[in-house]
């Protein structure tokens, strides 16, 4: 049962198999929740958008067609919902323009054995993510939470691969800088 692909499960759910939905939900609920939480840094709003997204999935089960991966479709819905929320609340993020082309290997002074340091750094990282411009945050979170590759994200957002790569690079760079500043 659990070996079934997301698409198969969604089709089964479209045929009124609620168990299929349960499996699908269990698979993706946490990553989607974190996607909203990292974006908004607010639990209440994240829960609201998270619920909205799943309700949208439930209500559009009859129209679901396997044109793309389920994950892509689900995160497209989530992305649209998020953009919509930003627009409604006049919080549209400004495009991040950074001409800092310096290469960054993503290394920081972090000892994984040190639990205390790890917790502190993680907290700082989350704050730094929240400070990222929307576009960069979006690419970073999609890559980290959905484990989608950059080409897949490029396809999903209908943007050029180079642009996505660049955004991701900027995001990592910014996070590092933020973490170093916080130390």
């Amino acid at each position: 049962m659990t070996d079934r692909s997301d698409e198969e499960l969604m089709l089964a759910f479209a045929n009124n198999d609620s168990t299929a939905f349960e499996i699908l939900y269990t698979r993706h609920k946490d990553s989607l929740y974190r996607y909203f939480l990292r974006h908004l840094n607010n639990e209440a709003i994240s829960q609201e958008l998270f619920q909205d997204s799943w309700m949208k999935i439930i209500n559009s089960k009859q129209n679901y067609q396997v044109k793309a991966k389920f994950k892509t479709w689900m995160y497209t819905l989530a992305h649209n919902r998020l953009v919509d929320w930003y627009r409604r609340n006049n919080l549209e993020s400004k495009s991040f323009v950074d001409n800092n082309e310096e290469q960054f290997d993503g290394t920081i002074d972090w000892n994984p054995e040190d639990e205390f340091q790890t917790k502190r750094l993680s907290k700082q990282l989350k704050l730094a993510i929240a400070k990222l411009p929307f576009e960069q945050r979006e690419v970073f979170l999609l890559h980290q939470e959905t484990l989608m590759t950059l080409p897949q994200i490029s396809e999903m957002l209908q943007l050029g691969l180079e642009k996505i790569k660049s955004r991701y690079r900027y995001a990592i760079n910014k996070l590092r800088l933020n973490l170093e500043d916080m130390r």
């Binding site: 939900y25 974190r34 009859q62 920081i108 590092r176 973490l179």
Partner: protein
């Protein structure tokens, strides 16, 4: 994987609240049930609708077919020679359908054939005369007959009333063991008589008053027979001429010969 990515994955364990999970799963379940209910309801409405449509269609088609048969069927007069010819020819299939008109025609044919054959004498146990009032209802008064046809009217006066009455109404002294019933058609021709039990015993119900045409025919033939029996050949000849004119399809040769 860069250090940032590793760090991100290390402490990334937030999960959606359980309450929200229950809420969403319940909504999904409800949507599935709703959908299946809707499918069921579709059938509930679709089936009777289809049945009603089918029934009404079949009814309409039936009615149309019936109308067509009535319209296309040739109309036969009672005394028309076409009826006899048609019944004997291949076109018989055209009038096979059991319509009231066809029934009437068939009865007429049978009547004509029966009248040609000698009436079998059935021995009935102790027959009594029926009340005269009943008999009067059966036949037209001679005066009325005279008005319509002077010759037949005149002849009808010569036929004793009892003889006519005896033909149509009987009364048994002993009660019959079985009830026998036959239909009496609306067109006035009785297929048979029916025995009905009452306080006075069993008595044969009177046949419905036959129609004037058939009744007159039988009456005429009876009168002709009586005149021949009584050797009143002159009157018989006159009546025969009238009857020949009236019933051109009927074969009167045996009367010709006997007169």
């Amino acid at each position: 994987m860069s250090t940032i990515e590793k760090l991100y994955q290390r402490n990334n364990k937030e999960s959606s609240p359980a309450e929200l999970d229950h809420l969403i799963l319940a909504a999904a379940k409800q949507s599935c049930e709703k959908e299946s209910d809707r499918k069921k309801t579709k059938w509930i409405y679709a089936l009777p609708t289809a049945a009603v449509v089918m029934l009404s269609l079949s009814l309409i088609i039936n009615l149309q077919n019936e109308n067509q048969t009535i319209n296309t069927m040739p109309v036969f007069d009672v005394e028309s020679p076409e009826l006899e010819t048609l019944s004997k020819t291949k076109e018989k299939s055209l009038i096979k359908k059991e319509t009231p008109k066809r029934k009437r025609e068939q009865r007429l044919e049978e009547m004509v054939q029966e009248s040609q054959q000698p009436t079998p004498v059935v021995a009935a146990p102790q027959i009594e005369e029926a009340p005269k009032i009943e008999a009067k209802k059966m036949y037209a008064e001679p005066s009325i007959l005279e008005e319509t046809n002077p010759t037949i009217g005149a002849l009808s006066r010569t036929v004793p009333a009892k003889q006519i009455e005896n033909e149509n109404s009987f009364k048994f002294k002993k009660p019959a063991k079985k009830n026998i019933s036959y239909n009496i058609a609306d067109d006035g021709f009785a297929d048979s008589v029916s025995l009905i039990e009452n306080d006075k015993g069993l008595e044969i119900n009177k046949a419905k008053k036959p129609k004037k045409d058939s009744n007159t025919f039988l009456l005429d033939i009876n009168k002709l027979d009586q005149l021949i029996e009584q050797q009143k050949f002159k009157q018989a000849k006159e009546l025969l001429t009238v009857l020949k004119q009236k019933y051109p399809d009927y074969d009167f040769t045996k009367y010709d010969i006997s007169i």
